[in-house]
């Protein structure tokens, strides 16, 4: 199958280095301390953050820093095939753990001892790259909640099909069976906080694909920063400062 045409266009009309259309919205869940909707093309994710708040289960309380918990799930209607997904299936557990570890690495937990931060992420529409979208949504929600963070975590996926590195795979490209790299970085600190990959790649091609994913992450970081800045200006306007 031909995922990149000789004219350099992908199946959906993008060039290999181009991301899908990104959209984000802050404050989608009014009762949450922080919330955000993040869209990458037809992939749509909603995230809600509660906290910092008192630890609900005292036995899990940590005296020196905050406890971070995360729960990931896919809505029954998020894919073309409506099916009942039981909570706690292996994939959800794995992604929950990935998001929790990624976020924990960037939250300044030592500033919030004996507290708990809960992150809830739900996929509303799935079209490939859900993991990256969840991480981006969680970052926005944490920022909205005012949680102190080292940096914004942004994530993007990249792949390698028809001997071409591709940025931000959609569902069709994801299902093609080629290598799939999911990368999460702290863009200002220029550090990698998450790296997952399916299949095998020689090291030089992996470097090319990673470089592409890094550029994607930085583009998302710029976009998220713009969204937060606009939101802050809106708040500033409302308070009459």
């Amino acid at each position: 199958m031909e995922y990149v045409s000789p004219e350099g266009l992908r199946l959906d009309g993008r060039r290999p280095m181009e991301m899908r259309q990104i959209r984000a919205e802050i404050g989608a869940v009014s009762k949450a301390d922080g919330s955000a909707i993040f869209e990458m093309g037809n992939t749509k994710v909603i995230a809600a953050v509660y906290g910092p708040r008192e630890v609900q289960n005292r036995s899990q309380q940590i005296s020196s820093h905050a406890l971070v918990r995360c729960e990931y799930c896919m809505a029954n209607f998020s894919t073309g095939d409506r099916m009942r997904k039981s909570k706690g299936d292996r994939r959800s557990t794995e992604i929950s753990l990935v998001i929790r570890q990624t976020m924990e690495a960037c939250i300044l937990t030592h500033l919030l001892p004996r507290s708990q931060i809960d992150i809830y992420v739900q996929v509303l529409q799935a079209d490939g790259g859900t993991r990256s979208a969840c991480i981006n949504a969680a970052t926005l929600a944490l920022a909205d909640a005012g949680i102190p963070m080292r940096d914004l975590v942004t994530s993007c996926s990249a792949g390698y099909l028809n001997s071409t590195p591709l940025l931000d795979l959609n569902y069709v490209e994801d299902s093609a069976g080629g290598p799939d790299v999911t990368l999460g970085i702290l863009p200002k600190l220029d550090k990698v906080t998450l790296l997952q990959m399916d299949s095998k790649l020689p090291i030089d091609i992996l470097e090319n694909v990673m470089q592409l994913a890094i550029e994607g992450c930085k583009a998302i970081a710029n976009y998220i920063r713009e969204i937060l800045l606009a939101n802050t200006k809106q708040l500033e306007y409302r308070r009459g400062v």
């Binding site: 004219e7 266009l9 959906d12 009309g13 259309q21 073309g80 020689p202």
Partner: protein
């Protein structure tokens, strides 16, 4: 700009699911015209100042690809929607149009209209997909006209009447293909045109005015929906049609649903199917099934009855019926019957270009007008094709290529059109090119990009090569090569010397082709595409350029050359103690032919080091061979033919069977050992992406003809395993000196074909090579002439850490497709080699009618096939024209005999007969070697 496309798709499980796909529209897609002031012209492909720009629609590309390939057609814009539709309908045409678009010499530009902001259109409600695509083509054409202004004319080429009408209404210039080509005033281009099917409709309308209507010769093909439901209910059976090459009225459909082949007998029952088509067949009632031996060898004269047919397409006659021979009723009852059927539909056509010539005919009165002619294919399995041409007088003595367009129920023959001329009939170069074209072999000279990849000449081993730590200097070893006489592309060399502990060090040194052919280079792409060198009688079509094959890579004697070596330590009993692999530099001491090597081994007076090494290697090889045979390796035989060619006229002087010597077997033994060792090494390192070679075990059904023939001569063959079969073949001895060889030849015919595969595609038990009785095998020893060996060299180098694994091996699917291409090229090279042998056999015997001795190898109802050991020739002998009476013959299937009805004469399988061989030409421009009984 983001749009969403949504559609409903049915899954395999029957569920209906909504699919939503993103579709981005963009403003950076350019028009491809260098004179356009608005667009970026860096990727422009059109002329600087064209008078007309053509936009072609899907049907034009699908049906007129021969015309588009002609250099006269230029300044063409191909829309991405057109490419997408062509890809879905016909992959081979898609590849051809893609080749034109990527050819920098042609002015074909691909415009991605589906992603351009101005030319993308949404599907309107109630609009069919085809109508939507046609509208997209018109919108893109309109955009081009508006975009480029009045300086240039944009013309839509379409044969679709409705599309043309709507284009005119919308103010778009549109023409049919025929009117456009006529405006070019080029008669040769008109011959390339595919006649539209509607022309037959016009002919039919005219025909209605005549008193007598046209006769319908063939049944209607069932529509696809009816075929599908029939296949599900088991009424119809799907399979590939294979036409008997000796009897074009007889064909077989291999069917999985009934586990047997369906016999299709008769032209009308074949119902316009071609060899290689995927067809749907319906079984006839059981009483209409014929016995196996009722199938006969068709005379060439059977087709001569067609001479009565008028060439004009409005004439139709009844198709001749091949008469099956009738035996006695007792014999018919005893004969097991095979399922017979008829073709009810064509699922997928296998039409391609055909080589042949025009049938001689009286010249028409007018000169320069369109003339109807019948094209006769070189391949008897292809029916005659009716074409129209303006160049009749030029083409009558030429070999030409013709493509098939359509085949109506009222036409005895399919309709087609002329593509191009190859050369004069009976010219050796022309006939050789016909052989190569028919087997899809690339004979174009290597391009300049390919030649630029070669190292500068004259090439010598450099000091860098010698000091390279990955490469060992083995120039001190006494290395030699043994090859066929006159061989210049020497792939392999050997060495052997004694070790102090009484063991032997044996080395196989293979030309280091991968040191010069690097992955991803044009040289590598060309070699991958060619797949293998093709060996014809009088020449060789190389996979790699000549400087590589005959000089730089070839392990010629007395020069230092780079090699990839497999070195074993062996006990005197030929047990391998250790194996090591290394890149190396060698200096061959001698390039021997098999005859020379054999002479050295046999002459006890010679005591020089090479001769001693040869004898040691021979004794080791014999032990290895015995062990291999003990494991079940088969010694198969085939009728290989060797020609002696006159250096001046290039005509064959003599013809005979190839002689196998001990020296051949010795070299073969070490090559097999090297291939097995390398296969183990690469599979250990790359279990999912190794290129291996396997020989599937033949089923008992495949071996049935062999068992039947053996039983007829009182021989019992055990086919439970390859070892049992090998033992049975060893015991098959008769009075006839050729008996054993004939049995082995028949056994070879029943075997499956060995194939390349990617190790990730199959499980280890399926890796087995039946003929060699090896659980694991690959090709490593001939990289100069087989691309598979180049790949294995790269895998071995990567497993040793010498070099990085190329990216092709990251992708198992890519390696699998390479293996498929190699299998295809390998098979075609074999076919071409055989066809070349047949061609030179004809040349040889044209001047030398000969009487000789032959053996019967297969019985048919009206004759038998014989094998001529002296010349290695096999062919049919007909009995109905024998001088010894014209009575009826019948076949005793159990005894594999054909007897005259009055019992005065009988012939049995493997019997010796005397035959007369001469070249005759029963059909014009189709000479053949005729074998008749004396």
């Amino acid at each position: 700009m983001l749009h969403n496309k949504s559609f409903v798709k049915k899954t395999k499980g029957g569920k209906v699911m909504k699919q939503v796909r993103e579709h981005y529209l963009r403003d950076d897609i350019y028009c491809g015209a260098p004179f356009c002031t608005v667009c970026d012209s860096s990727g422009a492909r059109l002329s600087a100042s064209p008078s007309t720009i053509l936009v072609v629609d899907t049907n034009v590309v699908l049906n007129q690809i021969d015309l588009l390939e002609n250099p006269a057609i230029d300044d063409v814009v191909v829309l991405s929607i057109v490419l997408e539709e062509v890809k879905n309908k016909n992959m081979s045409v898609y590849n051809r149009i893609r080749a034109i678009c990527s050819n920098s010499m042609r002015k074909f530009f691909v415009f991605s209209n589906e992603y351009h902001r101005d030319t993308y259109i949404k599907e309107m409600s109630g609009e069919t997909k085809n109508d939507r695509n046609d509208r997209a083509i018109r919108v893109a054409t309109q955009w081009y006209q508006n975009h480029l202004g009045g300086a240039v004319k944009v013309l839509l080429i379409t044969n679709d009447k409705e599309n043309k009408r709507k284009a005119s209404e919308e103010g778009i210039l549109a023409e049919t293909v025929e009117s456009y080509v006529k405006s070019l005033v080029r008669p040769d281009l008109l011959d390339l045109l595919v006649r539209p099917a509607s022309e037959d409709v016009d002919m039919e309308e005219v025909e209605d005015l005549r008193p007598s209507k046209r006769k319908v010769i063939y049944s209607e093909h069932k529509p696809m929906s009816e075929i599908t439901s029939g296949l599900h209910r088991g009424i119809y059976h799907q399979g590939k049609l294979r036409v008997n090459r000796y009897n074009p009225f007889e064909a077989y459909v291999g069917s999985e649903s009934i586990g047997d082949e369906i016999v299709i007998y008769g032209r009308s029952i074949m119902n316009r199917a071609f060899d290689g088509d995927i067809v749907a067949a319906e079984l006839l009632p059981q009483d209409q099934w014929q016995g196996v031996s009722s199938l006969s060898i068709a005379h060439e004269e059977d087709e001569d009855e067609n001479e009565d047919v008028h060439l004009a397409p409005n004439s139709a006659d009844d198709a001749p019926r091949a008469v099956s021979q009738q035996g006695s009723s007792e014999q018919l009852n005893a004969v097991p019957s095979r399922p017979c059927g008829r073709i009810v539909g064509i699922i997928k056509r296998n039409w391609h270009s055909y080589c042949g010539s025009l049938e001689p005919m009286p010249m028409p009165a007018g000169n320069g007008g369109i003339a109807h002619a019948l094209f006769v294919s070189k391949d008897r399995r292809t029916p005659k094709i009716r074409i129209q041409t303006r160049q009749l007088e030029n083409l009558l003595d030429k070999r030409i290529i013709v493509a098939v367009d359509s085949w109506d129920r009222q036409s005895r023959y399919p309709s087609g059109h002329y593509v191009r001329t190859i050369g004069k009939i009976d010219d050796r170069d022309t006939e050789t090119e016909v052989v190569l074209i028919e087997n899809d072999i690339n004979t174009r000279p290597f391009s300049s990009q390919v030649l630029a990849c070669l190292p500068p000449l004259p090439w010598v081993v450099s000091s860098e090569d010698l000091s390279n730590p990955i490469r060992k200097d083995l120039c001190h070893l006494c290395v030699f090569s043994v090859d066929p006489p006159g061989c210049k592309d020497i792939d392999d060399a050997l060495h052997c010397h004694s070790l102090p502990n009484g063991n032997f060090e044996v080395g196989v040194h293979i030309a280091d082709v991968t040191n010069f052919v690097h992955p991803g280079t044009p040289l590598d792409d060309e070699a991958a595409q060619r797949g293998t060198s093709v060996y014809l009688v009088e020449r060789r079509i190389d996979m790699l350029p000549k400087p590589l094959t005959e000089d730089i890579c070839s392990l010629r004697s007395d020069v230092e050359r780079l090699a990839f070596s497999v070195i074993w330590e062996m006990t005197p009993e030929a047990d391998i103690i250790s194996t090591r692999y290394t890149k190396s530099v060698i200096k061959s001491s001698a390039a021997l032919s098999y005859v020379e090597a054999q002479a050295r081994m046999d002459d006890s007076r010679l005591m020089d080091p090479i001769t001693a090494d040869l004898r040691n290697m021979n004794s080791l090889a014999k032990k290895m061979r015995l062990r291999r045979i003990e494991r079940g390796a088969l010694t198969l035989a085939s009728a290989e033919v060797k020609f002696q060619i006159d250096t001046e006229t290039h005509d064959p002087l003599d013809i005979g069977m190839y002689q196998i010597r001990e020296a051949n077997q010795m070299v073969e033994e070490f090559m097999l050992a090297a291939n097995v060792s390398v296969a183990q090494q690469i599979l250990n390192s790359f279990p999912l992406v190794s290129l291996l070679r396997r020989h599937p075990t033949p089923t008992r059904e495949m071996l049935e003809p062999l068992l039947q023939t053996a039983a007829a001569v009182g021989l019992h063959l055990d086919v439970s395993s390859s070892k049992a079969l090998a033992d049975s073949l060893d015991h098959a001895v008769g009075d006839d000196p050729y008996f054993n060889k004939l049995i082995r030849i028949l056994a070879t015919r029943c075997m499956t074909q060995a194939v390349y595969f990617c190790s990730g595609d199959l499980s280890p038990p399926e890796y087995h090579h039946y003929g060699l009785a090896a659980p694991l095998y690959t090709h490593f020893t001939s990289p100069i002439r087989r691309y598979a060996d180049v790949i294995v060299h790269r895998l071995l180098a990567a497993s040793l850490g010498i070099s990085k694994l190329p990216s092709v091996f990251q992708d198992r699917l890519q390696l699998t497709s390479i293996a498929d291409n190699l299998n295809y090229r390998h098979r075609n090279a074999q076919y071409a080699g055989r066809a070349s042998v047949e061609l030179h056999t004809l040349i040889y015997f044209r001047k030398r009618p000969t009487d000789t001795e032959a053996r019967i190898v297969k019985i048919r109802s009206n004759g038998f096939f014989v094998f001529v050991p002296k010349y290695g020739i096999e062919g049919p002998v007909y009995l109905t024209k024998a001088e010894k009476g014209s009575g009826e013959w019948y076949v005793d299937d159990q005894q594999q005999k054909i007897k005259k009805m009055d019992g005065s004469l009988s012939y049995s399988v493997l019997q010796t007969v005397q035959i007369h061989m001469e070249v005759v030409e029963p059909q014009p421009n189709r000479p053949k070697l005729q074998l008749t009984l004396i």
